[in-house]
């Protein structure tokens, strides 16, 4: 800091005074100089501060800019703290039965691919590969390996032993990619329900698994959602029951030389399908291809859901129930039953030319399975009311069950629902529906009279009653009639001691494939049953295709000889597993 200059230096003042000048000018000049000096230093300081501030801003902007550039240029990446090593696993949720036993799960396998330009000895590799996989062609492999291709799949999925064998070839051009594949540990069990999967889009490191049919396809979205990876899809099926039912049905089908068989076991109150079997079946681990003409012969064809058949006399109970519901009849009302029943040029007779006339009670009509009496009842009900009633039981639409195939299996209705249609539908001809339709309708009618929706998903929470179909008294009376059929009617083989089985048989001739009339010696037999009849818990439908019982002198094809004994054995084996105690008193009485 320089010496401070006095504003009025004495020497200059005296000098000025002596020369007669105003000494104030000296002071003012000095003051001005001092102010100028002060201004300069202040400006310098301010400039310095501005510079520092500017540098700060510049560097801040540079940092922000650089960071932006870095973010823009780098690859997007999950923050490390959030990554999980589990994301690759459990891509598809498991499917389990109602007790949590696994029906479908995943396993890790490997796919095999080749990068020919990396190969050391393509000829040797091709030879060895053809040895490991007999279905590969050595010549074709050599052509692929020595050609211009840079990449080729050899096998989509290989077993661990095969992988080891390929490792032993030791060629760096043979590479493995991880693959998750679907495993159905129970083999053929519940194959129609589970359906199957296939690979969707494929990459080296992973491949998509997509549902191909059955519930795998229907619930594909749920199963594929990564959020559900640890939440298995729980079905209403019971694995033990399913296994037992398949065993019994399989035995019955072979004993009776049937072409196919189907069975549905449904909880009457919730509509849950506890077991559903269709035979012949297939192994969903390796879905078979089918080249035949008739779709119904395909093992992948689900007879219980897709097979629509005329279900025959099992329909008679609907006519009886509706007559009671409408108040036209009581179980004891007498109905004319003298054959033939004439309508226009058509006449309707009884099975094998029986005559149950002149009068039958409504119960008697069901017990004897009288076509003529049912025709009278159906005629009284009329077209409109019958159609509405069958609609309320779900016979006019495809079943809403959780299978892809279900929506395509629409019942076959008469194109023109005339009075004649009403009469024939009364005893089960002219309307084709699937066994699952029948199970739903029987459950709705017999559980006290409220509509159920068939489902394969385990029921949670309290039971919500559906819309009312019939009054509880009508439901009880219908059960009593069905019980009478088993106790004294056409289904006497169906009486399982202690379980109060009630049911109705149905035998329908198979329509010819060319659409002209019916076969004489090919029938579809059905037994629709409920047990226990006094306090209904389950409905069981058993259908057999072209079954014939040959122990007698003459082959017998009616349901009473084919479907009924099989159903009885199913109930005898399955009811204890379901935890239903037999009525001990009747059990003891019977013995």
């Amino acid at each position: 800091m320089s010496m401070r200059t006095p504003l009025r230096p004495l020497a200059r003042i005296l000098k000025a005074r002596s020369s007669g000048e105003n000494p104030d000018t000296i002071e003012r000049e000095n003051l001005r100089l001092r102010h100028e000096e002060m201004r300069d230093t202040t400006r310098l300081r301010a400039e310095g501060r501005l510079l520092v501030l500017g540098l700060c801003f510049v560097s801040a902007f540079v940092v922000v800019g650089l960071r932006m550039g870095q973010v823009a240029a780098s690859n997007p990446e999950e923050p490390q703290a959030v990554t999980t090593g589990t994301s690759i696993l459990a891509q598809r949720a498991d499917i389990v039965d109602r007790n949590g036993r696994i029906l479908a799960t995943n396993r890790t396998t490997h796919s095999l691919y080749a990068q020919p330009q990396e190969m050391i000895d393509p000829l040797y590799a091709a030879k060895e590969l053809a040895k490991i996989f007999p279905d590969l062609n050595e010549e074709k492999l050599i052509k692929d390996f020595t050609g211009t291709r840079k990449f080729l799949w050899i096998k989509r999925q290989i077993a661990p032993e095969q992988q080891q064998a390929v490792h032993d070839i030791g060629d760096p051009g043979l590479l493995f990619g991880p693959r998750e594949s679907r495993l159905y540990p129970n083999g053929k069990l519940a194959s129609h329900i589970l359906g199957g999967t296939k690979f969707g889009r494929e990459g080296v490191m992973s491949a998509e698994i997509v549902g191909q049919s059955g519930i795998e396809r229907y619930s594909d979205e749920y199963l594929r959602d990564p959020a559900n990876g640890h939440k298995p899809l729980q079905l209403s099926l019971d694995l033990s029951v399913q296994s037992t039912m398949r065993e019994v049905l399989f035995g019955g089908m072979h004993l009776l030389n049937a072409k196919g068989a189907a069975a549905v076991l449904m909880d009457v109150h919730t509509g849950e399908i506890v077991s559903m079997v269709s035979l012949p079946d297939f192994d969903p681990n390796g879905r078979p291809t089918f080249a035949g003409q008739n779709a119904a012969d395909n093992p992948r064809f689900n007879r219980a859901v897709q097979g629509v058949y005329e279900l025959g006399s099992t329909f008679k109970i609907f006519a009886a129930a509706q007559a009671m519901e409408l108040g036209i009849m009581t179980p004891d009302t007498l109905i004319p039953a003298t054959p033939p029943f004439k309508w226009g040029k058509h006449s309707i007779r009884e099975f094998e030319g029986h005559n149950y006339g002149p009068m039958l009670s409504l119960t008697g009509m069901i017990v004897k399975s009288s076509n003529v009496a049912t025709a009278h009842v159906a005629q009284q009900i009329g077209v409109t009311r019958q159609k509405a009633f069958l609609d309320s039981l779900g016979f006019l639409d495809a079943t809403p069950v959780e299978l892809t195939e279900a929506s395509g299996a629409k019942p076959l209705l008469p194109p023109n629902w005339s009075e004649l249609s009403t009469i024939t539908i009364g005893f089960g001809h002219g309307l084709s529906a699937s066994p699952l339709h029948l199970a739903t309708a029987y459950s709705s009618l017999l559980n006290g009279g409220t509509r159920v929706t068939p489902t394969l998903i385990k029921h949670q929470g309290p039971i919500r009653l559906g819309p009312r179909v019939v009054r509880p008294e009508v439901s009880a009376a219908s059960r009593a009639m069905l019980r009478a059929v088993v106790a004294e009617g056409t289904a006497s083989f169906g009486d399982v001691r202690g379980y109060q089985v009630g049911g109705k048989t149905g035998t329908a001739d198979k329509p010819r494939e060319n659409g002209k009339g019916y076969y004489d010696d090919k029938v579809i037999t059905t037994f629709a049953s409920v047990f226990p009849a006094d306090e209904p818990k389950y409905v069981l439908i058993v259908t057999m295709d072209e079954a014939v019982e040959t122990s007698g002198p003459k082959p017998r094809r009616t349901a009473g000889w084919t479907a009924v004994p099989v159903a009885a054995e199913v109930i005898r084996r399955v009811a204890p597993i379901l935890g239903i105690r037999p009525d001990v008193e009747t059990l003891a009485l019977g013995q």
């Binding site: 990554t83 090593g85 589990t86 696994i102 995943n106 129970n186 069990l189 037992t244 037999p582 059990l587």
Partner: protein, 118 residues
């Protein structure tokens, strides 16, 4: 006084810097550990899935049925049938002996009475 503040705040800033440095490395270490654990969990889950699949495969009903048939001599397992249900009243219970009558010393009497009250 002022210089003391300056020195103290400088020391404070240095302390913070050391702390931040340490935290940074500790965080990285923990992140490494977490990813290692996640990997382990992944492997364990993979193993678990394989074991569950194997368990389900070994317990498939058809195999169990065959095993029950093969080992019928030793196990004597039969399918569950309605006849196997019984009534509780038809089960013979062991006859209970009257404990109190057999007692001869007071100590056990006290103990047994408590048991009876319960």
């Amino acid at each position: 006084m002022r210089s003391v503040y300056i020195v103290l705040s400088a020391l404070f800033v240095m302390g913070l810097a050391v702390w931040a440095y340490k935290e940074n490395y500790a965080t990285q270490e923990v992140l490494r550990e977490v990813s290692q654990i996640q990997r382990d969990i992944g492997h364990q889950q993979e193993e678990l899935a394989v074991l569950r699949a194997e368990w389900a495969y070994l317990n498939r009903p058809s195999r169990l049925r065959d095993l029950a048939e093969l080992n019928f001599d030793r196990l004597g397992l039969l399918p569950l049938l309605p006849e196997q249900f019984g009534d509780v009243t038809s089960v013979a219970f062991p006859v209970e002996e009257d404990i109190l009558m057999e007692l001869d010393n007071p100590v056990s009497v006290v103990g047994s009475l408590e048991a009876i009250v319960q």
